[in-house]
């Protein structure tokens, strides 16, 4: 260390740590960082720990009963002696409510996200966003209570009219729009302008009448439906879709925001309207992020317990016909929550372990979808940043 005299007459050595101090600082650093690393890896290890403990309790079930019954039989009589442990209907029920809620939540969520990120003026957006976020803050048991005590009786007593009005309100505009578009498309070959117009008017009129009759007929059919039990797959799907909505909205909004300004402005500069810019430029660029949002939303629906346990009817059978959303179903999460109370009395029996097998199934599924969605988001980020 070269000794130079500094301004204040001090030697620069005063600023250099003595070997003793240096060693102490190094030890402190080592301990500090080691501690932080331990804590951080503890969090990671927890995941393995969960996986290990659930698997350890799930494996005895498969050892005792094999895979075939669990995945192919619909007979679920865990309390009998000997019990039957066919989970097919339960897995099917989980799939059914998940698909049902995705059908509602995905279009709703994506259009809400687009609206929030690009369409609404800031003054409205400021209030709309907290409202949607509030849907996430409401505890699941409150949703369950609503589904069970308020929505289920409503569905049971006025199910037909509710379905009819829902059909008219949702399908009506779409069908009429489709009629207009179809009329346009079918006459687009005609080159003569005036003939094209008359043809289009006629075609649209005929199609419109057919469409209205169709709408009315389906509505009447729905109106005649008697819903035997309000606690069914439809009820649960609807409630779950609103629970999944905030996730879908916030993740897709993030990915819409991640699409740079230059893409939007380029599109505007070429003369596109806002709708055209969004549909043809921004959405394709953000599509992978939106896909990730959908996966996350679906996971929220699969993993939800309280609503399905309280309001799905909990009857373990595949609805008849298979697409009948007005039938009661049972899901994996609800089975775990509902059966554990009794199964826990007989720790070590197949009845106890089968619930862990279901937990393992849920766990594996959530890991896979999480990894997939993460991959997608990372890929999108890379593409957008131009790497």
């Amino acid at each position: 260390m070269a000794e130079t005299t500094l301004v204040g007459g001090k030697k620069s050595e005063a600023f250099v740590l003595s070997p003793e101090k240096l060693r102490r600082q190094r030890i402190a650093k080592f301990i500090g960082e080691g501690f932080l690393l331990t804590v951080a890896s503890f969090v990671a290890i927890v995941v393995l720990f969960i996986f290990y403990f659930v698997a350890v309790d799930a494996i005895p079930f498969f050892q005792q009963r094999g895979f075939e019954e669990f995945f192919t039989s619909t007979g679920w009589y865990p309390a009998d002696d000997p019990g039957e442990f066919g989970a097919l209907a339960i897995i099917y029920g989980s799939g059914m409510v998940t698909i049902g809620s995705a059908l509602i939540a995905v279009p709703l969520g994506i259009s809400a996200a687009i609206c929030l990120s690009d369409v609404l003026p800031f003054s409205i957006r400021q209030y709309a966003k907290p409202v949607i976020e509030m849907l996430a803050a409401i505890p699941s048991v409150a949703y369950g209570f609503f589904a069970l005590v308020i929505f289920a009786p409503l569905l049971q007593n006025h199910g037909g009219p509710i379905l009819m009005w829902a059909w008219w309100l949702i399908a009506g505009p779409f069908v009429l729009l489709a009629v207009v578009v179809a009329g346009d498309l079918l006459t687009s070959r005609q080159t003569d302008e005036s003939r094209r117009k008359t043809m289009r008017t006629m075609l649209t009129g005929v199609l419109g009448v057919i469409a209205v009759v169709f709408l009315y007929w389906v509505g009447k059919t729905l109106n005649a439906i008697q819903i035997l039990s309000g606690t069914n797959a439809l009820n649960v799907s609807l409630i779950l879709s609103f629970m999944a909505l905030p996730t879908i909205v916030s993740v897709s909004e993030d990915s819409l925001q991640a699409v740079g300004r230059e893409l939007r402005e380029g599109s505007y500069a070429l003369g596109a309207t806002r709708a055209e810019t969004l549909v043809r430029t921004v959405l394709p660029a953000a599509s992978s992020g939106i896909l990730a949002a959908v996966i996350l939303g679906i996971m929220r629906a699969i993993g939800e317990t309280m609503v399905v346990w309280m309001a799905s009817g909990n009857s373990s059978h595949i609805p008849d016909p298979w697409y009948n959303y007005l039938d009661s179903i049972r899901t994996l999460t609800a089975t775990i929550a509902g059966d554990m109370g009794e199964a826990d009395q007989v720790t070590g029996s197949a009845r106890y372990h089968v619930l862990f097998a279901m937990g393992l199934l849920l766990l594996v599924f959530s890991f896979i979808s999480n990894l997939v969605s993460e991959r997608i988001v990372i890929r999108q980020r890379k593409i957008l940043s131009g790497e």
């Binding site: 600082q25 650093k29 500090g32 960082e33 501690f35 932080l36 804590v39 951080a40 890896s41 503890f42 969090v43 990671a44 290890i45 927890v46 995941v47 720990f49 969960i50 403990f53 659930v54 309790d57 709703l108 259009s111 809400a112 609206c115 369409v119 609404l120 709309a128 409202v131 949607i132 509030m134 849907l135 803050a137 505890p139 699941s140 048991v141 409150a142 949703y143 369950g144 209570f145 005590v149 308020i150 609103f242 309207t273 806002r274 709708a275 055209e276 549909v279 996971m299 993993g303 317990t305 309280m306 999460t333 929550a337 109370g341 937990g359 849920l362 959530s366 979808s369 999480n370 990894l371």
Partner: protein
């Protein structure tokens, strides 16, 4: 828009018999604007749908629940007969008998046993406890007559609130015609009135709706959240600091990051399975206690806290770090005295949101036995306890109409806590948000 590109070329020459190009463009433009409007309308519809859903949800809960904050009480003149009460040991007397006697005095004409039983059913079994407490507090009352407002039975309460209809035939009603007559007489004599329901906020759970309250559940939730906070905040903070400030970019770090996201994706019920298998069956911890509940919820809230804390740390600009290092502080000093204090508000915000999440969680707690019926208000971390969402679940399962309104009321209280926490988080974020 392939059709857009084609159209203008057909009319470009602009002859007098044919349409001019500008008209075609204008028409096309009008159509595109219509599409634009329609598009905006769809977006608005979806937002309105969620707003409407939220409004329906909240109004139906409030509409069902606000009546639970009031409870019907009946005025009863109780003669504290010195022969029935032992001045030396007032706790051991037959207060139920004294109450029954006062009721009989109110309705001297009721004599046969069955009618008497129906009459007693109008009064809550809590009346005797109330009398006992009154006497224990002030033994000098013995020998005098006191006027007490005792809680009415839940059926009477429901009748007063209009949930039991009088025009239903007697067999389909929970109150008989005779009982209705007695209640009407009470009303005429001004002996019955609705008052603020203090019991709801001070009592634990009970089989009798009029005696049940949420205080036990609130305390249980408090203890559970305390454990969660004490564990998850430091762990989450340390993990976030390590990952943001110290972690080298290598496979191990990637592994940790992936697993934190995985932890966030685990369905909540699986945490319950873990709690059951590990904490209860493996370590043999006591069932349905805030201790185990807190441990399970800690695992659940960790990812939320870590992700939020990392975002807060990321928001601290590198210039601060470089300045600290530049004046000679070690990395540890840089983090602890410069980066952390600046990132702390953001971290606290994340923690509050995580706690709100934990407060509303039900499913994993069902698995560790927190569904048990617990009357006593818990006094510590290892007392069996219910938490608020579980209490709501239990009440939602009860058949009595009176529990329905209590369920809604409990949801209102829980929502109030949750909204308070979330609002605090939002305000904190706004207040401490720095633009660098």
């Amino acid at each position: 828009m392939s059709s857009v590109a084609k159209k203008p070329s057909t009319g470009a020459s602009g002859g007098s018999g044919r349409e001019r190009a500008i008209d075609i463009v204008n028409r096309r433009l009008a159509k595109r604007y219509r599409v634009e409007k329609r598009f905006r309308f769809y977006g608005l519809c979806s937002i309105i749908a969620s707003v409407v859903f939220l409004a329906v949800l909240l109004t139906s809960i409030v509409g069902n629940g606000y009546t639970a904050f009031f409870q019907t009480y009946i005025k009863l003149d109780v003669a504290l007969d010195a022969t029935m009460l032992d001045r030396a040991d007032p706790g051991g007397s037959d207060y139920q008998g004294i109450i029954k006697k006062s009721i009989n005095k109110l309705y001297p004409e009721v004599e046969d046993r069955r009618s008497k039983r129906e009459l007693y059913a109008l009064f809550s079994s809590g009346a005797a406890f109330q009398l006992r407490n009154t006497v224990m507090e002030n033994p000098d009352l013995i020998g005098t007559t006191v006027t007490l407002w005792v809680p009415a039975d839940d059926d009477v309460d429901m009748l007063m609130k209009g949930h039991i209809k009088r025009d239903v035939p007697e067999s389909g009603r929970r109150l008989s015609d005779k009982q209705l007559g007695w209640i009407d007489r009470l009303a005429v004599e001004d002996r019955i009135e609705k008052r603020f329901n203090v019991t709801f906020f001070t009592a634990g759970d009970s089989r009798e709706p009029e005696l049940s309250g949420i205080w036990g559940a609130v305390k249980g939730s408090f203890f559970t959240l305390l454990i969660t906070l004490v564990l998850s905040f430091p762990i989450g903070l340390a993990a976030a600091v390590y990952l943001e400030e110290f972690a080298p970019k290598n496979l191990a770090t990637d592994f940790i990051e992936v697993n934190i996201n995985n932890l966030a994706a685990v369905p909540s019920i699986v945490f319950g399975l873990l709690g059951l298998a590990v904490f209860l069956n493996f370590f043999g911890m006591p069932r349905s206690t805030p201790l185990v509940g807190g441990l399970v919820l800690t695992l659940m809230t960790l990812p939320t806290i870590i992700i939020a804390s990392r975002a807060a740390l990321k928001a601290v600009p590198p210039s601060i770090r470089e300045a600290a290092l530049g004046v000679g502080s070690s990395k540890m000093q840089m983090v602890s005295s410069h980066v952390l204090p600046l990132a702390l508000p953001g971290m606290l915000t994340g923690t509050i949101i995580g706690m709100a999440q934990a407060l509303g969680e039900t499913a994993p707690l069902l698995m560790i036995g927190m569904v048990a019926f617990i009357v006593d208000v818990p006094g510590g971390f290892t007392d069996p306890a219910a938490v608020m969402p579980v209490q709501i679940y239990l009440w939602a399962d009860s058949p009595e109409r009176a529990f329905l309104e209590r369920t809604s009321a409990a949801i209102m209280v829980l929502l109030a806590f949750l909204i308070l926490m979330n609002a605090t988080a939002v305000v904190m974020r706004k207040r401490f948000e720095k633009r660098w």
